[in-house]
Symmetry: C2
Subunit: 331 residues, 2 copies
Amino acid sequence: MNKVITLNSRPVGKPQLSDFKFEEVEMPQMKDGEVLLKTKFVSVDPYLRGRMSDAKSYVPPFELQKAMSSGVVAEVTESKNDQFKVGDFVSGSLEWKELQSVNPEHLTKVDDQIAPLSNYLGILGMTGLTAYLGLTEIGKPQKGETILVSGAAGAVGSVVGQIGKILGCRVVGIAGTDEKVEFLKSEFGYDDAINYNTTENMTKAIAEACPNGVDVYYDNVGGDISDAAHTNINRFGRVIVCGAISTYNETEVPTGPRVEGFLIKKSVLMQGFIVSNYAEKFPEAVKQLAQWLAEGKLKSSETIVEGFDQIPQAFIDLFSGKNTGKMIVKI
Amino acid sequence: MNKVITLNSRPVGKPQLSDFKFEEVEMPQMKDGEVLLKTKFVSVDPYLRGRMSDAKSYVPPFELQKAMSSGVVAEVTESKNDQFKVGDFVSGSLEWKELQSVNPEHLTKVDDQIAPLSNYLGILGMTGLTAYLGLTEIGKPQKGETILVSGAAGAVGSVVGQIGKILGCRVVGIAGTDEKVEFLKSEFGYDDAINYNTTENMTKAIAEACPNGVDVYYDNVGGDISDAAHTNINRFGRVIVCGAISTYNETEVPTGPRVEGFLIKKSVLMQGFIVSNYAEKFPEAVKQLAQWLAEGKLKSSETIVEGFDQIPQAFIDLFSGKNTGKMIVKI
């Protein structure tokens, strides 16, 4: 039998294991043109929380009692498609199933000789693209400017900081444990980092870590941390609004200081970023990321959890920051 | 003797007449290179409220017991400068004085044969430039898109709507009285308009007036009205944050729904706009505005109050929306 994870109920507040259901289903029947895929790595990402709710967004919500899906790397184990042969690896948006038969037209072949397969869900996948394209297309950092990153030890944040350094900027990160803060500085080249859980006055701490102010704020978390970041933003600053994980589990509309004041006073740009809007730039961006990775200028950071059964828990753990770098489940 | 209006005290909340002081000072002494100016028209603008507080902003605060200043059109009555002769009219940032002697290097000559002098403080001055450059540089409206304007009957808003129509958009305005709503439609070509003072559910009213959603939101007011506007914004929408008059007199940091959610979900851009950032585009923009004005495509709308003594009250009246179009004091 084949295993699948479905959406059992829409979470209220923080997602629970009971919001997911493990089911056994029949083995997939292959059609002409399809490939049979064995799941190797599954990506869990904060944005999936939005799809578990029944709210209108840029991607439709998951359906109740239907399979969950996310970024997956899989191996072709049977093929009825000339373009794909047994033993090929592919990445793409796939269901949380051990085995599935699909038409591979939206899948991308990936090569485990170039990089470890999990990298295609991280630094060479959506994560790396989000970091690179958000920073360069909206943030447009200039050499010598200061970039502040929230969720800096997370999947996207750990890459943003490294790219900021490659581009010649001062890079300051915000994370939730002392270990992460140390890791940001020792592994990812952050010039400075702040532990928001042990810092009383974030506004002051950011001001001290960013003596020339903040030119680019790459925001993955929203909430109070962003309020403190906004206070330190420079004239003509750019805020890349990439994520707001601190608010994803709130059941009421989150409120906070209105932004219009600092946007006007400092001529600041704030823009919501969704990586799929920049699809035509993916090939060039992946090429650049792969080159930096090969040159050793960029390091991949992954937290890998093992076991198909662990996918829901790995997802839930994102909200308590259990991961450093990209959270991936190895099957 | 010469009259001057100084800042007597920094307002707490809504400005009061007692925050200003009328003084009599000696007649100005002219230096070489200066011109003696007689004030003809004085512009009062919401942004001056910010300068009356002691907070850091894009322009320094007014100093206590020193003259207030704003956009002024004046007549040269004596000249010790070869470039300016008696009878010339100039516009620029000048003090609230009946007479003043200044070096005219930052002043612009204006011609009362091309347009009434007050227009150089309105549609051909900062107001028109703010409307045109904010809309085109940040809003970038495409033909057929919907533009929503708050403070639509105000100085900037009344021009934004007209330019939106020239550019082939659907234009919907928000104002505070039925008279203004009618005026928006009959005089400024707005396709529809909403009275926020008599509308219970602004979110629904905007949705009805903008059946295709809001592509560009030109925001002059902030606060609750903007919350309703944000709810109706389309994917890839642009929010020009030009003013937040609804919050200028608040003594606490104004709070409201956080914006990160809709910015991300809809890939929206929100940008603070200050007209002076676009100074290099002024000549071209004024030329375009003057051409539309001459062709009758653009109408000037001004509320003119008479008397030097009336400047503070005219300014205070901005916050209760007593003006339609540009508020100007004629001396």
